[in-house]
Structures are given as structure tokens and as C-alpha cells.
């Protein structure tokens, strides 16, 4: 379905929002106490390297020139050099991004599918025991304190029962030993299980509750009555006529709740030492590695915006009423 005008409009929107965030971040760095050079340039460097960096970032220029150089540097991919790693931050974060995306997409997609399915069932049997059990469990999942839940999983499933590794993303020995690809993939999956389970449970609750209430409001629509009047079976009404309409607002909320899941994602990565962007950000912030923190933040903002864009496009594709 071609809706080029709509897609273009959304792209422009995302571009503008990102630019605002980029600008806000620049001024935050300049407004905070301490001079920008000590924030962006590692004091441990040799004087020549320092001079080079200062020159590259324009830190000795007036504010507005610094801003222009900052924007230019961002688009050419020069985000500074990490204090801790002593490497350009862009190379560090690209490496981390894939792990975050792996964890995020799997948990979100899984939770969305299961949540939508269960929410549909719960709404259909509104007021029954099944509905009560599911809704209350979903509420509990939704309000669980993520680090605590993660620590409990780690303690019980990882430490006590020894089912899963206590952290990291792969077993070093396996990777040095040149094992076959399938073993390596299984190894990553093994490490993935606990963080995935954490994020899945947390997200599941919100999707289930959303789908349930969306489904309830769709079930009171007139076209459901029409479907009944046609003599359609309850299953067809539920799965075809109600669920499809009810899932639309849930898709929108996936985008809106992304900020929420990012919070959870960072905490989960931190506890399971999953080498993603979230953990890197917390590390950078704890160690005053400003260039790294800034880059992580911008990348997270970009990921959130892109995910929102994808969600919007998905919505436009599924809802025939949206035309531009």
C-alpha cells in the first residue's frame, strides 16, 4: 500500500524531533558546571592529541561555532573519544547496538504477540475466573520492580538451580575454541534467556491489559452486533472482527511505551551484564565518561524514534482509514 505522503511526513517529523533533542543535549553539556574541554577531552591524553581533539570539536571557538561543528560532527560520525576505552565512541557503540537490538526486538515482539493473544481471551471472557486471574497476573507483572525481579531470577534460576549463566552474552572459552556456528548461536540464546524472560514478563503485562481494554471497547461497537446478526460463529467474530480492530491501538501504544521499556532494558542489561547500549550508558555515567554517555544517549534517542516511526508506518498499513 503506497502512502508516500504519509511516510514523508512522518520522516520529517522524526527528523525535527531528533534535531531538537540533539540541540537540547548540546546546551545541557555547555550549561552544566565545569568547562566543556574537561568534559569532552580525556585529561590523560598527550598534549598533542588533546590539541587535535579540541580543534576537531571546535572547543576553543565561540559557542555558536561549537554548535555548528557539533552538528556536523554528529552527521559525519565523529562523536569524540571515550575516556575509558581511549577509542572513538562510534566504534564502541556500534558494537553494543546489535546486542541491545537482539534483546529488545525478541522481547517486545514475543510479549506483544502473547499479550495480544491473552488479552483477547481475557476480554472475551470478561468477568470470568479466567479473566480475573489473567488481569491480576498482568497487573502484577506490570508493576514488578525490574531490578528486583531480575535479581530474583538470577538468584533462583541462575544461582540456586544453575539453569542459566549468571551474566554476559557468551562463554569466552567456546568462542576462542572455534566451535561450530550452531553451538555459538545456542550459547548466545542460553545467555539471552534470563534477560529475555525479565523483559518479556514486564512487557507482557502491559500488552495484555491494553489489548483487553481495547478489545472490550471494540466489542461494544455496532459492527460486532452486525457480525452477530450475520450468524457468524463466536470464534470468527472474536478473531476476525474484534481482534483486528482492537490490536490497532495496541500497536500505537507499543511506540509510546518504548520509553518505558528502554528504562527497563537498561536495568536488565546492567544486572545481567548484557553488553548493550543501556549498560554502556550506565557505565559511562558512573565513570564520568562524557563523550561515551552522550553518544549512548543520542543512539538511544535515535532507536526510540525509529521504532516509533516503524510503529506508525505499521499502523498506517493496517488501518485502511489512514490515507495521505
Amino acid at each position: 500500500m503506497a502512502k508516500p505522503g504519509y511516510i514523508l511526513l512522518k520522516l520529517v517529523e522524526v527528523g525535527i524531533i531528533f534535531f531538537v533533542i540533539l540541540t537540547a543535549l548540546f546546551f545541557l553539556f555547555r550549561l552544566s558546571p565545569g568547562d566543556p574541554i574537561s568534559k569532552m577531552v580525556d585529561p590523560m591524553l598527550t598534549p598533542e592529541d588533546m590539541a587535535h581533539l579540541i580543534q576537531q570539536m571546535g572547543l576553543d571557538r565561540p559557542m555558536w561555532e561549537q554548535y555548528l561543528i557539533y552538528v556536523k560532527n554528529f552527521f559525519t560520525g565523529h562523536l569524540g573519544v571515550s575516556f575509558h576505552y581511549g577509542e572513538p565512541v562510534e566504534t564502541i557503540i556500534w558494537d553494543k547496538l546489535k546486542w541491545t537490538i537482539l534483546l529488545f526486538t525478541t522481547s517486545t515482539v514475543l510479549a506483544a504477540f502473547v499479550g495480544v493473544f491473552l488479552g483477547k481471551i481475557a476480554a472475551w471472557h470478561k468477568g470470568s475466573r479466567l479473566d480475573n486471574v489473567m488481569s491480576i497476573s498482568a497487573l502484577v507483572c506490570y508493576t514488578l520492580f525490574i531490578p528486583w525481579f531480575a535479581l530474583l531470577l538470577l538468584w533462583i534460576l541462575g544461582f540456586q538451580w544453575g539453569l542459566f549463566p549468571l551474566g554476559g552474552v557468551l562463554t569466552p572459552a567456546l568462542w576462542i575454541s572455534n566451535a561450530p556456528l550452531i553451538t555459538r548461536i545456542l550459547d548466545v540464546l542460553h545467555h539471552l534467556m534470563l534477560p529475555l524472560l525479565t523483559l518479556f514478563v514486564i512487557n507482557l503485562g502491559s500488552y495484555l491489559l491494553l489489548m483487553r481494554s481495547s478489545m472490550l471497547s471494540v466489542l461494544s461497537e455496532d459492527y460486532i452486533l452486525t457480525a452477530r446478526a450475520k450468524g457468524l460463529s463466536e470464534k470468527v467474530i472474536r478473531n476476525k472482527h474484534a481482534a483486528r480492530n482492537a490490536a490497532l491501538p495496541v500497536i500505537t501504544s507499543v511506540g509510546l511505551s518504548l520509553a518505558f521499556s528502554i528504562n527497563g532494558g537498561a536495568l536488565t542489561e546492567q544486572i545481567f551484564t548484557w553488553p548493550g547500549i543501556g549498560k554502556e550508558l550506565i557505565f559511562a555515567v558512573s565513570n564520568n565518561d562524557y563523550p561515551l554517555a552522550q553518544a549512548c544517549f543520542l543512539l538511544i534517542a535515535l532507536v526510540v524514534l525509529c521504532a516509533n516511526l516503524i510503529v506508525d508506518l505499521l499502523y498506517a498499513w493496517l488501518d485502511p482509514r489512514i490515507t495521505y
Binding site: G5, L9, V12, E13, I16, Y324
Partner: protein, 274 residues
Amino acid sequence: MEKTDTKNRLLVELKQVTKAYAPKKRWFVRSSQPVLALNSIDLGIEHGEVFGLVGQSGSGKTTTGRLLAKLESPTAGEIYFDKTPISQLKGVRLKAYRSRVQMIFQDPYQSLNPHLSIAETVLEPLMVQGIGTRDTRMEKVVHTLDLVGLSPGEAFCHRYPHQLSGGQRQRVAIARAIVLEPQFIVADEPTSMLDATIAIQLFKLLQEIKETFGMTFLFITHNLAAARYMCDRIAVIHEGHIVEVNTAENIIRHPEHPYTKKLIKVQPGFKYGR
């Protein structure tokens, strides 16, 4: 008594009034052409008459009423009230205009604030216009409620809208509109959401009010029969154009415009055959 020509007896006059609605903007960009609700209409309403404006949904009839109540402003053209142009009214003069022109809305279930008691609802125009003292205002409210058939007025004062039927709510809305004793009332489909037996009683009430206060009415409706029952003159509006203006009897008996003819033909009635 000096002889007055028609022009001087006009209370309300619309001159080439156009109203265009801009489509929604996103990021300050318009995506399509504006919609013309009213396309350069001319209309005159005389002192003391009930003027009917008949049209289908989307014809611009409600827009006309809203322009007169100054809920919206015309895109082009000018509206004269008592020979004064109203588009530039501001501050004190706008407030004075508001005390002279009131409106009755369509939906009795949405035209009263559920959080205000009946007395508070009818009191509000007096309060914002700063008329009377606390006691005289209350007296006026009770009196007005009696007048619209909610008697005894004291008994209704402390009730809330959810305790009233649709017909009673619409009576409260009428009381709110007449409590300032305005010169001109815009009644926008005041009975279209009510049952026929209730509607006819409200029509009677409006006629009584008109006779008591000598107000001028703009009666907006989709129902030609109701317009004929209520009005002295009728204008038929179609897609933003006034297609025909005439006395009520002449519009029905000798329609000239094809649209009016069609409207009369499809009006449901008891034609027993096919």
C-alpha cells in the same frame, strides 16, 4: 409613526458572508483545500419575525447560526446587527452584544453542564453580565423557570441536569437563553433529538415566549414542516448557498427552486398510497 422601508426594519443582515473551514494542519502544513461551509450568502431578518433556515446536514445552516452567536467569525463578508457590523466587536461592546443575542442548542443531553445545578446554569448569564444583585438575580431565575414551564421554579433550582428528562433539560436551556431578555435568539434544531409529543410542546413554549417578549428568532431546522409551523419567513439553504427565501406559506405552496421542490417532495407524510 413614520413610514419605514424594509431596510430599516432589518434587525440582522448578512452581506456576502463566506465561511471556509481549513482542513487540519500537521507541522503547520495544510494537506488539502479549505471547505466552504457558506458561500457568499445574503440574508435579512426583520424585527420581531421568526425566520426559518432549512437545510440538510452540511448545508451550512448551523454555521450561519454560530456566526450570528459569534461563536465563529466569517472568512469574508459582514454581519450587521441593528445596523452595526459585529465582526470588530471586542471587550465591553462584545459583552453588550452577547446580552442581546442568545442561542439554544440541539442536544439537551449536552447543553447543560452536569456539574452545575439548574439555578447555577440559569444564573450564569446574569452573573457574567453583572445584572442585578444576588437576590434579584435569584428572583429572576425562579421567575424564568416558571415561565418556561418548570414550575414551581424553586423546586427545580436545586436539581441537577441528570435528574431531568430531555424535554425538561431543553426547557432549562431555553430559560438560560431568555433570562437576559435578549432581542434575538438563534434556535439550532432545538427539538430534533426529542420525541414528537415533547417537540410540539416546546414549539408552543417558544411561540409563547416570542409573544411575551417580542423577540426575533432564527429557527434552524432540517424539517420543513416544523419550519412552516414556527416561522413567518423561510430560507432554504443548500451546500452553502441560499437557494430561496419567501414567506412560509409561499415556500411550501409555490416553491421555485428545484431543490426546494425536491425537498418538499421527499418530506414524509401520510400519503397512504405509493
